[in-house]
Amino acid sequence: MSQHILEIKHLQVWFHTIDGVAQVIQRAELVVEPHQAVGLVGETGCGKSVTAKVILGSLPVPPAEIKQGEVIFCNEDLLSLRVKQRKELLKQSMSYIPQDPMTSLNPVFTIRQQMVDLIKWHKCANIGLGGLLGLRGWTKNKPARKTALQLLDYVNIPAPEKIVDSYPIELSGGMRQRVLIAMALVGDAQFLIADEPTTALDVTIQKGILNLMEERIEERGIAILYITHNLGVARRLCARICVMYAGNVVETGPTLELLEDPAHPYTIGLINSVPKLTKESYVGIEGTLPDYLQPPSGCRFHPRCRYAEEICRNTPPSLREVGEHRFASCHMIERFR
């Protein structure tokens, strides 16, 4: 049907809390094409992780409620699939790298135990408890172990034979993140969600991980949705960037053009906030993220926007084309650009 591997349309997600209904995602739109890395960029609480959870199906429902929208992955709407089919599809085609390498590996099993189980699981379906006990359909351990070693080597882990028998606590953060990348590569997924995988790491380590992801993942032709708050990291890895603010995708476009010439006032503010090596002044954005229990009417950015006018207070803008492959949701773009 389409050449997109992932397309999110009009996603709207609410959370039911003690204090009322939090309208966390108002309108998320997202497209990822095969072999493409897309950066989903935004500040804390903008809804980027919630979006990822919707795709992965790990959003707790309730308290969350998906009000409307479609998440089309490999031509299937994930939101309308049955749980079992959806799990099978995700297992076949999607993978995930978590944010915090320190807590994302099971502390009481060795790397080998964790990887081997995963490899065996991907090799044969429906193992169940019987398979666990080695009763049926359980591939032998040796080839799985070999695959594990190959994968660890593939993610540039020195001396994988030694690492494979360690417990997570024995490894540094960078090492653990490499192990997690190796685990994400176990299935032959075509799509990978990376949720701030380098935020917890030092810059020199972060650089190694980014290099690795660029080389290895592009080598395999995997499409990536890379979630980050760091524009620099997104620039390093992604071909396109989607900027989220307060539950809306406010701007999307090819990375370099978007960073050189941002269209949405929030993107402009965000880029102007980053301290730069050129010693350009950085100003920040006035105000704070709105309260999701009582989000502002109209454009959610209008209380912080210096271009805001009457229409911004009343009508929520939608994404519209502002250049080649570029979209932004702002009423005022023509006024100030």
């Binding site: 500040e43 380590i205 980053v274």
Partner: protein
């Protein structure tokens, strides 16, 4: 050098943490040399940045320099006075002159105390002022850091990260210190908030004649706010220079690697970065440091001798110091006009 030019100067400072006790015996695991012979000069009304990755000892250095931790060795001179051995009442008196602002906005505020109780604690301890005056002073401090008056009745859980850091800053300013150690004050914040806090810090420095020791891992910030910079690795300063000089002409392989790892968002920024360097491996554990150059295991420019000699910090240009064997050698060969001295030896 007049004693008053430097507000803080630190000479061959050491800070070791005892290892964990092993059961009932007196034996301990090896001590961790978190700060291993550091020299530092912070000039009045200027900002000196301490840069390094986690485990480099930069936070420990910051805390030891203002006597939050007692130094294991070396001397700390603050405003012309040796404060290394201070204790008791004189230590308490010194405390009001040097304050600290912490990295974690949540952990640095007591969740059970209101904003006004938090800010007025130092006032209570030092000032003999009435509670009415104290209240006025708290409101004044809140205004200084850009928070409206009603915030004094709030508790930390109802504040955003940026607001918490402002409260932390107000508390640090309460005693009217001349030096503030800023320990990654913005690393937990979003960039749009970070920018606001950074400009607040810059304004306060002007208005209150403050001196900052700014601890961070973000070199882009350093470039924008610091006059002088020390790069730390494994408890030592590996390079120290004026910030402009450091960025335009980095000497130590680690500094180059750090600079090249900065994520940038525009092409112009690229011109301020050195050629690509990618480091391998991790920082060695500070509990078993090599006797030779600590950076050897990750260095891209290492030589055979590096595994035999522990290089000293040498001056390669005016006020540009590097701890690398390559420069110790080159300087001898080239007979550069700068005297071959090592820090800590000069008087």
């Amino acid at each position: 050098m007049t004693p008053c030019k430097n507000l803080l100067s630190v000479e061959s400072l050491y800070k070791a943490f005892l290892g964990k006790k092993k059961g009932l015996s007196r034996a301990r695991t090896p001590a961790i040399k978190a700060v291993n012979g550091v020299d530092l000069e912070v000039k009045r009304r200027e900002t000196h940045a301490l840069v390094g990755e986690s485990g480099s000892g930069k936070t420990t250095l910051g805390k030891t320099a203002i006597h939050i931790y007692a130094a294991t060795g070396g001397t700390i001179v603050f405003d012309g006075r040796d404060i290394t051995q201070l204790a008791g009442r004189r230590l308490k008196a010194f405390r009001r002159e040097a304050q600290m602002m912490f990295q974690d906005p949540t952990s640095s505020l007591n969740p059970r105390k209101s904003v006004s109780a938090t800010i007025s604690l130092p006032l209570r301890i030092y000032g003999n002022i009435s509670s009415g005056q104290r209240k006025l002073r708290v409101e004044e401090l809140l205004a200084t850091v850009g928070l409206p008056r009603p915030f004094q009745y709030r508790y930390p859980h109802s504040l955003s990260g940026g607001q918490k850091q402002r409260v932390g800053l107000a508390r640090a300013l309460a005693t009217q210190p001349s030096l503030i150690v800023l320990d990654e004050p913005t690393s937990a914040l979003d960039v749009s908030v970070q920018a606001k806090i950074l400009s607040l810090l810059a304004n306060l420095q002007q208005e209150h004649d403050l001196t900052y020791l700014y601890i961070t891992h973000d070199l882009a910030i350093v470039r924008n706010i610091a006059t002088t910079t020390s790069v730390m690795y494994l408890g030592r300063v590996v390079e120290q220079a004026e910030t402009e000089d450091l960025f335009s002409n980095p000497r130590h392989p680690y500094t180059k690697a750090l600079l090249s790892a900065i994520p940038i968002i525009s092409e112009e920024e690229k011109r301020h970065k050195p050629a690509e360097v990618t480091l391998e491996g991790d920082i060695p554990s500070p509990s078993n440091m090599p006797v030779y150059c600590g950076f050897f295991s990750r260095c891209q420019e290492k030589m055979a001798e590096c595994q035999q000699v522990d290089p000293a910090l040498v001056q390669v240009e005016n006020d540009h110091w590097v701890r690398c064997l390559r420069f110790a050698h080159r300087r001898e060969a080239e007979r550069t006009p700068y005297p071959l001295t090592t820090k800590g030896q000069r008087s």
